[in-house]
């Protein structure tokens, strides 16, 4: 027994730490295995099979399937509807991202500095976020209704001309933006509120002793202290806005004349209504590449800012 131990010990020492690390690795693998399985099945595999699909003429009906090379990608570059829907997506992102960040901070700050009845504000700012998108769309559709909808009827009663909120080109996108802000601002609000509550009170106390007014405290303490949260919210918000689909699909179905059709809706229309899965995959991979580029750029800018 002793001899055995003394014999094995140098051997183990010779091989360094590797043999000792081995069992660790194995148990580590089993810990991540469930996630890895789900990840492979629901993320990795669809990504690979989608990429393959984008190189074929695969149709939802099972027809086609022949290899098309980069034909789909070339077609997408020449497709007016792709560019139009990408443009709409960009406009939507620009119009929603900034207000959703600024507004949520303002709301969170107002609640934090102590509007009376804090719980009520917290509840009413966050409540819309809990509604499913179908409910949100139905609610606003009725309010936007021409003729006797809540908003248009009120406008008429005041003697103001009615507005075609969802059916006028140029107005419809703003209506969708308004609905989206109302619906989703609560989530950013909550993130900001918790960030604000994490700022240590002694910073404010010290500043106050040094004679800093409320505005100075906001600019020099509050905003820098929530910087990390801002970076995260901006990131999440831009990605979420680029992925817009549901509320547009339900409110305007992309109309009027395609002026609110987002790129994801176009992908849905070509793939699922038009059966052209291969072509739809190609557009979604182009869009994916675009998102990766935006995300990397954003990360760089934000990191530079943070440091």
């Amino acid at each position: 027994m002793l001899r055995e131990l003394s014999e094995t010990k140098p051997a183990a020492a010779l091989e360094g730490r590797r043999p000792a690390a081995k069992p660790k690795q194995a148990s580590g693998f089993w810990y991540v295995a469930p996630f890895l399985a789900a990840f492979t099945l629901f993320l990795l595999w669809p990504i690979i099979s989608g990429l393959w699909m984008s190189l074929t003429n695969q149709s939802l009906t099972g027809a086609g399937g022949g290899f098309a090379g980069f034909g789909n990608y070339l077609e997408a570059f020449g497709d007016k509807a792709v560019w139009q829907s990408l443009g709409n997506t960009a406009v939507f992102t620009l119009l929603t991202a900034a207000p959703l960040v600024v507004l949520s901070f303002v709301m969170a700050h107002l609640v934090y500095v102590g509007l009376p009845g804090q719980w009520l504000w917290r509840l009413s700012f966050f409540a819309p976020y809990l509604l499913p998108v179908s409910v949100v769309a139905a609610l606003w559709q009725w309010m936007f209704q021409p003729g006797f909808g809540l908003i248009n009827a009120t406008l008429s009663a005041w003697g103001i001309k009615q507005v075609g909120f969802l059916d006028t080109e140029g107005v419809a996108m703003f209506s969708v933006v308004l609905v989206t802000i109302w619906w989703t601002v609560g989530f950013n609000f909550l993130l900001y509120l918790s960030a604000l509550q994490n700022i240590p009170d002694h910073l404010y106390e010290a500043a106050q002793l040094d004679g800093a007014g409320p505005w100075r405290r906001l600019v020099s303490i509050t905003i820098p202290m929530v910087n990390r949260t801002t970076v995260m919210i901006v990131m999440l918000q831009i990605l979420a806005s680029l992925k817009v689909f549901e509320q547009i699909y339900l409110l305007t179905n992309g109309g009027p004349r395609g002026s609110t059709r987002s790129v994801l809706e176009y992908i849905y229309d070509t793939g699922f209504s038009g059966y052209r899965l291969g072509y739809a995959s190609a557009i979604s991979y182009l869009f994916f590449a675009l998102i990766v580029v935006i995300a990397v750029l954003q990360l760089r800018v934000m990191n530079r800012k943070a440091s």
Binding site: N57, T61, G254, P256, R257, G274, R276
Partner: protein, 428 residues
């Protein structure tokens, strides 16, 4: 009774003996089980469920109906189910979708002899409808109804406006001008507007109205994939200009939604409405003295925009007893067409239309003639109910009806869109 179903009943009977009284509740198992998909979720959905249970009981079938939401997702689901081999035994489709549904790949043709044995033959259907069900010489669909786009009117208001005859029916309106005069007089009678038409944000309504009247002009069109789109632009512009003039805010509002138009008609704000006949039960409840007619012939030839609910047999992985049972089921449903007619639809099965009971159904019988002159969607793969084709064209037309785009430009946009679709590879 097929040999298989006899065997099955025998097996069920053995089971009954083996388990004694316990299996009394298992008796429906002895009937052939088939699954059917439909998209009727409104008032006609209730009627359909009633017909299915009636046919199930009478024909000793065990039908499991599944109702899915109307529209483009329904066809996505049906196509995916059929191409993956998980399809129902029988399903409802719009006839306008048949050409684009890869009949040879996703559907099975009917066995005409089998249908005839259950009492359904070609002579029972209007030729214009039957022809659209044939693909490569085989029958891929059995029509249950045709559901045209029609003109409904409030008889009391029409009498007040002086545009109806002694029997309460609208007087002949044979030109665009005559129709606009009638709408103007109706507007005086209601004190608000004459006619309702809801199209704003709707993915089909403007197309239905436009295409019906375009077909009345007798203008030709040719949509062949890979070739230039041929549409009679002057005629299309003429029709669209008429519609823009009609929806001037006085004769008819030009910014009404589908449900808004219904609300206006049912509350007497307007006295006429262009609508699908499927809304008939709702109208009949609100407007007791309700009249209806096919789309008025304003451009020379009678034609009403029409689609048709048909029964199809999605392709099965292996042939089983469901194939024969589905024939039996479809034939049984057709013979219960009178129930279906109450929902407003015109039964496609002629023996039903010939019955005393149907002849007495007012106002259904007043627009039954529309079945002879249907204006279907073009028979190309990208057209039909619930397609992006209807959605895109409706958006163009709707913008024109609201006065934001001139008629001529809208027609150019339509031809552009058709051209794009014709040069797109056919995915079926």
């Amino acid at each position: 009774m097929s040999r298989r179903s006899i065997l099955r009943s025998a097996a069920a009977a053995t089971g009954l003996l083996a388990t004694g009284g316990l299996s009394a509740c298992a008796s429906p198992q002895s009937a052939t089980a088939i699954q059917s998909w439909d998209l009727f979720s409104g008032a006609d959905g209730v009627k359909m469920r009633g017909m299915i249970s009636k046919v199930s009981a009478a024909q000793q079938l065990n039908v499991r109906p599944v109702t899915l939401a109307w529209g483009s997702p329904y066809y996505t689901k049906l196509a995916m189910a059929a191409s993956s081999g998980k399809a129902p035994d029988t399903a409802i489709m719009h006839l306008s979708r048949l050409a684009g549904f890869a009949p040879e790949r996703l559907l099975q043709p009917y066995d005409m002899d089998l249908l005839a044995r259950h009492g359904v033959v070609q002579e029972d259907f209007a030729p214009a409808v039957w022809e659209r069900c044939i693909h490569n010489g085989k029958l891929f669909a059995v029509p249950m109804d045709t559901h045209p786009f029609i003109l409904l009117y409030n008889k009391d208001l029409a009498a007040k406006a002086g545009i109806s005859d002694a029997t309460g029916k609208l007087k002949d309106m044979a030109s665009p001008q005559a129709f606009m005069d009638a709408a103007a007089r109706m507007a005086e009678a209601t004190g608000k507007q004459g006619l309702s038409f809801g199209h704003v944000l709707d993915s089909a309504q403007s197309w239905r109205l436009f295409w019906g009247f375009y077909n009345q002009t007798g203008a030709s069109y040719r949509l062949t994939p890979g070739e230039p789109a041929e549409l009679d632009k002057p005629k299309a512009t003429e029709v669209l200009s008429f519609l823009i003039e009609l929806l001037d805010g006085k004769k008819a509002a030009n910014n009404q939604t589908y449900h808004g138009a219904i609300a206006d008609f049912t509350t007497g704000t307007t006295g006429m409405i262009f609508s699908g006949e499927w809304e008939l039960p709702a109208f009949a409840e609100a407007v007791p003295n309700l009249g209806a007619m096919p789309m008025p012939t304003l451009f020379g030839q009678p034609a009403s925009y029409t689609d048709s609910h048909v029964w199809v047999l999605p392709r099965q992985v292996q042939d089983d007893a469901g194939f024969e049972a589905a024939h039996k089921f479809v034939a049984g449903i057709l013979k219960n067409g009178l129930t279906w007619a109450q929902a407003g639809h015109i039964p496609a099965y002629a023996p039903i239309r010939a019955t005393q009971e149907y002849r007495a159904l007012v106002p259904q019988v007043d627009y039954a003639a529309a079945i002879e002159t249907p204006a279907f969607d073009p028979a190309v793969w990208f057209a039909g109910a619930g397609t992006d084709f209807q959605n895109q064209l409706s958006q163009i037309l709707s913008a024109a009806l609201q006065g934001t785009v001139p008629a001529k430009d809208a027609v150019d946009s339509i031809v552009d869109y058709l051209q794009t679709m014709l040069s797109t590879p056919n995915p079926t």
